[in-house]
């Protein structure tokens, strides 16, 4: 191995680290973060981008350097040095990725846990909800008894504000949101800022997936099964809701919006829409189509 002088290596290493660290924070690839979960995921992604940038530069650098430096001269028929391996080096490049993926796995686990992915209570909530709801099929109800919750439950951290529950039904090609507290039905999702929202989701026909890009969360919506998604919006505004599981020809058109209101605006919206219930009922499917 043709190892450059120590100082050069050091300078290269420092430059590499700095570039990676800078790019890991400034890649600008993610859309705005509108929920607590989103900032967690972005932190994780930034770390992964930092490591990926570093590795990318090292390996591509080695390739480009080799191609420039180690070219065969015209007419040179000799072979390169007969190096068949280097055990310490091989151990090193086995160990480093091992450590990296170990760190990433632990960090991902932490983030996932914070997002509520391992919430053991979720399954209980979910069953009670199922029992109260109108599940005519006893089979379906019973079916879920032995299952763990699918999706994201309450985060184990922070104060446990009772979440706003919304029932979500995915059908080809629309989302229908049902607010059990007030009986409101809507084709768009409206939620207050800084309060946990819990979506109890099911599908009416085929598989769908409920995706909020600005919230960095996604969960498949499965006919005959309930899944849930809990998140806390932190930023007011209007964001897309997208179906991310192929559900038919107009899959690309199956989207609507989520509006994060300030608490007052949200109350206003609930009031407006609870009274206007009768009119909106019929239009629900159409709203989703837009």
């Amino acid at each position: 191995m043709n190892i450059p002088s120590n100082i050069l290596t050091l300078i290269l290493g420092v430059a590499l680290t700095l570039i990676s660290l800078w790019y890991g924070q400034n890649h600008g690839l993610m859309p705005v973060a509108a929920s607590q979960e989103a900032s967690e995921v972005d932190g994780l992604f930034n770390l992964m981008m930092t490591i990926a940038t570093g590795l990318f530069l090292i390996v591509e650098g080695a390739i480009v350097y080799s191609v420039i430096k180690f070219r065969r001269k015209e007419g040179d028929l000799t072979d390169g040095p007969p190096i068949e391996g280097n055990v310490p080096l091989e151990i090193l490049w086995t160990a480093i990725p091992t450590v990296i993926v170990f760190i990433l796995a632990i960090y991902s686990f932490e983030v996932y846990n914070t997002m509520g992915g391992l919430d053991p209570m979720a399954s209980h909530d979910h069953q009670q909800m199922m029992a109260e709801e109108t599940m005519e099929s006893s089979q379906l109800l019973a079916m879920d008894n032995s299952r763990l919750a699918l999706g994201l439950g309450q985060s184990p951290e922070g104060e446990q504000t009772p979440p706003l529950e919304v029932n979500v039904n995915g059908i080809q090609y629309a989302w229908i949101f049902n607010y059990p507290e007030t009986g409101t039905v809507s084709g768009e999702l409206h939620v207050p800022v800084d309060r946990p929202v819990k979506l109890n989701m099911t599908a009416g026909d085929v598989l769908h997936a409920f995706w909020l890009p600005e919230f960095r969360i996604k969960q498949d919506v499965i006919p005959g099964r309930e899944s849930l998604l809990t998140f806390t919006p932190t930023r007011t505004g209007q964001y897309p809701v997208i179906c991310a599981e192929l559900c038919g020809a107009y899959h690309g058109g199956m989207k609507t919006t989520i509006t994060v209101h300030s608490t007052e605006d949200y109350q206003q919206w609930i009031q407006d829409n609870t009274f206007a219930q009768v009119e909106t009922d019929g239009d629900v499917a159409l709203i989703g189509d837009r």
Binding site: A62, S66, R72, L150, S227
Partner: protein, 545 residues
């Protein structure tokens, strides 16, 4: 000297032959035909996606194209192309005259053309539109006959790849020439062992899933249909139990190709032979226990998501070993930048990106954001195009002189590489930010805010399409007017170069001589007890003949 030995006539390549070399070429040409078909479908899709509205084709037809594109590229292009190299090279590399079961081998190939044409015929009854994954319940409600043809074709093609795998394993394990122990066989054979193990263990499970899906579709059972009490998630598990290993089935043979190409054109021994050999087996084993990472956002409970995240991330370690070893192989060598080497280096740099994004999508919280988006589309194209297809072209340029007896035109080869590399990156690199920003996959219509980026992608895909022409011209021109290839134009050490180009029927004029390891470049290979022929071959490799 070559005239004494019988050669294949060109007609032999169009009929039923049990010669592994003929079958290998037949596989490669058939697969390439389907690559053009699948590629044409991709170009229609990209043209449609140049604008946000579904204005070129109906969304139903878009979904058909998308389903067919995926299925064709996987089952009729990359998997058979891997089998092509395996068929052609394994007996030559291990110094034997044919496969263990030549007739079975021919049958395995002859399933593919009718299977592929049957598959294409599904357009007459409405092609399947549920994606290559065919998730129920959607696959049960979007056209019965298209879907059924999809199932039958995949079963047929799966059978073909299983028959091939039985052959490869038996041949590699049982038919090596007497002096060749398992640790001195070429790495391509190791990678085919790892691949075949996955085919043998994985494909039958897919078959089971598809048989049950077929019952649901035709007979009205409800294995996977929630409306009748079944469970669509069970299908996903069975499907991915095969289809994740399938990714390795598609990439491992080409890891093998790279391990062959790099040492020859860098004039250096492969770095870490055993590490590369065993990391392939490790990938193969781990590949069997990671399938549910395709289902992180699906019906997978939290703890199971964590388990599959851990196993998936571990795969980065053996993959990393391979990539680093390849880099170390070229480091300090004497690199000839010919077409084969260019594609091999293109493989290294593109596959690296696919590998890095692969570790990212293995992380559950991040995958919950990008699953089923263009980020994932970018990821697997970097693995399967940047990985498999680049390595495949490296292999084609490397072994074309052996297969045809003609040298290729290097200038056209370099043009092919540059167009492919630029087109490929222009097509798939922008898909990463697209996915992260919120563009989901498998859609015919999308948010207008993504249009600029999509136009860029479409232009890239056109460059990729154009890149095929220099390749085709090169192949046909070289076959017709190319310079005659010597036995060993690259001065390589593996046994396939010890016979004429193209090799005679039954491969070797006389028993091949194992006078060096497959990668002993630069190692002093002094003549073995003054054997004249060995001296000749030594001189040939040293370039002084």
């Amino acid at each position: 000297m070559e005239q004494v030995h019988p050669q294949r006539k060109w007609q032999d390549y169009f009929g039923f032959s049990t010669d592994h070399k003929v079958i290998g070429v037949q596989y490669l040409v058939t697969a390439f035909f389907f690559y053009l078909v699948g590629g044409a479908m991709a170009e229609v899709m990209r043209t449609e996606l140049a604008t946000p509205d579904p204005d070129l084709v109906q969304p139903e037809f878009y979904n058909q194209l998308m389903t067919m594109h995926g299925s064709i590229m996987l089952f009729l292009w990359i998997i058979p192309a891997g089998a092509a190299f395996a068929n052609y090279l394994i007996p030559l590399m291990i110094g034997t005259d044919d496969m263990a079961f030549p007739r079975l081998n021919a049958i395995a190939f002859w399933i593919i053309p009718p299977g592929g044409i049957f598959f294409l015929c599904s357009f007459f009854v409405g092609a399947p539109q549920a994606g290559w994954t065919s998730y129920p319940p959607l696959s049960l409600v979007s056209g019965v006959w298209g879907e059924e043809i999809w199932i039958l074709s995949v079963l047929l093609l799966g059978l073909s790849s299983m028959l091939g795998a039985f052959n490869f394993v038996t041949t590699i394990l049982k038919m090596r020439m007497p002096d060749m122990d398992i640790h001195s066989m070429p790495l391509f054979c190791w990678s085919m062992l790892a691949t075949s193990a996955l085919v043998i263990l994985g494909t039958p499970v897919l078959a089971a899933a598809l048989i049950l899906l077929s019952f649901d579709l035709i007979a009205g059972t409800a294995f996977f249909n929630p409306a009748g009490g079944g469970d669509p998630i069970v299908y996903q598990h069975m499907f991915w139990f095969y289809s994740h290993p399938a990714v390795y089935i598609m990439v491992l043979p080409f890891f093998g190709v790279i391990s062959e190409v790099l040492p020859v054109h860098a004039r250096k021994p492969i770095f870490g032979y055993r590490a590369i050999a065993y990391s392939g087996l490790a990938i193969s084993f781990l590949g069997l226990i990671v399938w549910a990472h395709h289902m992180f956002s699906s019906g997978t409970p939290g703890w199971l998501r964590m388990f599959f995240m851990a196993t998936t991330m571990i795969i980065a370690v053996p993959t990393g070993i391979k990539v680093f070893s390849w880099c170390a192989t070229i480091w300090g060598g004497k690199i000839s930048l010919n077409s084969s080497m260019l594609f091999a280096l293109g493989f290294l740099s593109s596959f690296l990106i696919g590998g890095l994004s692969g570790v990212m999508v293995a992380s559950v919280p991040f995958d919950l954001h990008v699953h089923d988006t263009y980020f994932v589309v970018a990821h697997f194209h970097y693995v399967l195009f940047g990985g498999s297809v680049f390595a495949l072209f490296a292999g084609v340029y490397h072994w074309f002189p052996k297969m045809s007896g003609k040298m290729v035109n290097e200038t056209l080869g370099r043009i092919h590489f540059i167009l492919t590399f630029v087109g490929f990156n222009l097509t798939f690199l922008p898909m990463h930010p697209l996915g992260l920003q919120g563009m989901n996959r498998r859609i015919a219509l999308y948010d207008p805010k993504f249009q600029a980026m999509n136009e860029l992608v479409t232009i890239g895909s056109y460059i990729l399409a154009v890149s095929t022409f220099p390749f085709l011209i090169n192949i046909f021109w070289s076959l017709w007017k190319g310079k005659k290839a010597p036995r060993n134009p690259w001065r390589a050490l593996t046994l396939e170069w010890q016979t004429s180009s193209p090799p005679i029927i039954e491969n070797f004029e006389e028993e091949p001589v194992l006078w060096a390891g497959p990668y002993d470049y630069g190692i002093d290979t002094e003549s073995v007890d003054g054997d004249e022929e060995v001296d000749d071959m030594l001189a040939e490799v040293a370039g002084s003949s």
